[in-house]
């Protein structure tokens, strides 16, 4: 693979209200320096895509944003959310994850009924009122465009759902918690094109009320749904700009090579 100059970057400041930012974020897996100085700003109520080849560090980076790397890696630097550095030790990570929720690459519904998949975390967080719970189930399933398909089977096992449905259930499960930010780690990579289209549609709708950060392998997907796009390469963020600019007039050689299919 061609060597690029990692000091040459093009990272813009976001002119909009920010959902969260990271400053000089570094990740170490033992001695392995997996992420170098990632400084990025994420706009509120927009979709930001993180693209890059496998092993570029984009998932690693995403998982830092709600502290899912806690037991796996050492994360240095600042993650600012509502004027707080949520990467500091005295932060209640469980509280953080209620505001910054994550959907994973492989659909991971709980081995419970569809309804309980959504209500489980709500109940554990003190919502006991039946009407409120039912309301949240309906709202979140509608938000994830799954309601019409499952409304008669709410008490059936979520494990019987198809991959695409299960993934939308996972999105609904997050949405029901009413978080601020949704992190999605290649949510459609295990799905067929029709399910992928549905997920994208769902995300476009959720964008009105949520700030979304999505890792994707699929460049068409990024260009279809993202307002801003960051390009990751070998543990560095090399370029961050409005999606259209990334895909039409990239400023960095590595970005250009990647989007034109020269590597990755």
């Amino acid at each position: 693979m061609q060597e690029y100059d990692y000091n040459q970057t093009h990272i813009i400041d976001i002119p909009l209200e920010k959902a969260m930012t990271t400053e000089n974020l570094q990740v170490f897996y033992g001695d392995n320096h997996a992420m170098h100085d990632a400084t990025l700003q994420f706009p509120r109520h927009r979709i930001t895509a993180l693209i890059g080849a496998s092993g570029s560090g984009k998932s690693t980076y995403l998982r830092c944003l709600n502290r899912m790397n806690d037991r796996i890696a050492t994360v240095k630097g600042k993650i600012m959310y509502r004027d707080m550095d949520i990467n500091s030790n005295n932060i209640n990570v469980y509280e953080v994850r209620k505001h910054i929720s994550m959907v994973f690459q492989r659909p991971n519904p709980f081995a419970k009924s569809i309804r309980e998949n959504i209500t489980f975390a709500l109940k554990r967080n003190g919502i006991k009122d039946k009407n409120e719970l039912n309301k949240r189930v309906e709202e979140s399933l509608k938000a994830a465009a799954l309601w019409d398909e499952v409304k008669d089977d709410l008490d059936k096992s979520a494990l019987a759902l198809s991959g695409g449905q299960a993934q939308r259930l996972c999105i609904a499960r997050c949405v029901a918690m009413k978080p601020d930010i949704l992190l999605l780690d290649e949510p459609a990579s295990a799905l067929d094109p029709i399910s992928t289209a549905k997920i994208e549609e769902t995300l476009m709708q959720l964008r009105e009320n949520y700030s979304i950060i999505i890792v994707t392998h699929n460049m068409q997907q990024a260009s279809r749904i993202a307002d801003y796009t960051a390009f990751f390469h070998m543990g560095h963020v090399l370029e961050y700009d409005v999606t259209e600019k990334i895909f039409t007039t990239p400023q960095i050689k590595a970005t250009e090579d990647y989007i034109s299919g020269n590597f990755g």
């Binding site: 709600n66 899912m68 469980y94 509280e95 953080v96 994850r97 209620k98 929720s101 994550m102 959907v103 994973f104 492989r106 991971n108 519904p109 709980f110 081995a111 419970k112 009924s113 309980e116 489980f120 975390a121 554990r124 967080n125 008490d155 059936k156 096992s157 979520a158 494990l159 019987a160 996972c170 499960r173 997050c174 918690m177």
Partner: protein, 295 residues
């Protein structure tokens, strides 16, 4: 030899080996049941054992076996659950954990006579428990713990890491994730562990001879106060179990129908284990269904 023939040979060998296992099982079960069942009657199940005369039953021994199992599980299950959860979910991967795992394994390979004599010296003699169900249950806990801990740890490990991530990413604490999501999903495996260890408790004799004792005093099945020495629930009384009884009538039994009693008791023992197995599985399936909404 082409791949088709080698495949056929391999399949054939595997079928043969499985057939061997099945044949041994069928032969053993068949032998025990055919020789034993004719001696089993309502009278046999519901009357007390006789020391010298013929016609003794196994009522007390049968009950003792079950009571001992329940007591053993009450003692060992919480400990095993705790250590299983610790080993699977919390233990860091270092030498301390390695030592704990090895210790658990060594514990499971201790000869039961040794555990029995240890229990005899420590509980029966030193702690003045006397021959008692409690001493027996503690001794059996020693056997039970490794098996149960292992199976609980492994069933928890079998639950996908994705499930834990899902729970955590929703802002649930690790404890809530484990108790609410991982444990229910691991239930079938945990249940298998309980069933396996229960079989061992039912069948154990050597360790019990020195701890729970070899006598089955007459107890009052209407007395529900465990503190009362005549109560059937009293756990400080000596309690000969079915397996010990089989051993005893075969070695030092002086009743004229010793052979009949031992084959009858063996058949009952096997049937009870099978029944326990079935019941536990049914209960487990029902629980799993309730907790996971799966069909």
């Amino acid at each position: 030899m082409n791949s088709k023939t080698s495949n056929n040979i391999a399949t054939g060998v595997i079928y043969f080996l499985v057939a061997c296992v099945l044949a041994i099982l069928v032969f053993l079960l068949g032998y025990i049941l055919i020789t034993g069942i004719p001696h089993v009657s309502w009278h046999f199940l519901t009357s007390a054992a006789q020391s010298f005369a013929a016609g003794g039953g196994i009522r007390d021994q049968l009950f003792n076996s079950m009571y001992l199992l329940v007591l053993t599980l009450i003692i060992s299950f919480p400990i095993a659950l705790g250590s299983g959860i610790y080993l699977s979910e919390y233990a860091p991967d270092n030498w301390v954990t390695g030592v704990i795992r090895t210790a658990v394994e060594v514990l499971s390979s201790l000869p039961s006579v040794v555990v029995g004599l240890f229990g005899f010296l420590l509980f029966v003699v030193n702690f003045h428990m006397g021959f008692s169900i409690l001493a027996g249950a503690i001794a059996l806990t020693f056997f039970n713990l490794p098996l149960l801990t292992r199976s609980i740890e492994e069933s928890l490990q079998d639950v996908s890491e994705l499930q834990r991530e899902a729970g955590l990413s929703l802002g649930l604490s690790r404890w809530k994730t484990i108790t609410g999501i991982v444990l229910p999903a691991a239930l079938p495996g945990i249940l298998t562990g309980i069933i396996l260890s229960a079989g061992r408790v039912f069948g154990e004799a050597a360790a019990l001879i020195y701890t729970a004792g070899q006598s089955a005093p007459t107890v009052n099945y209407g007395d529900w106060n465990p503190m009362d020495s005549a109560s059937f629930l009293n756990f400080m009384r000596p309690a000969e179990t079915l397996a010990v009884h089989i051993w005893k009538v075969n070695t030092e039994g002086v009743t004229p129908d010793a052979a009949a009693i031992s084959s009858g008791a063996s058949a009952v023992l096997i049937v009870v284990i099978l029944l326990f197995n079935l019941l536990a599985r049914m209960l487990g399936r029902w629980l799993y269904k309730r907790m996971t909404a799966t069909k």
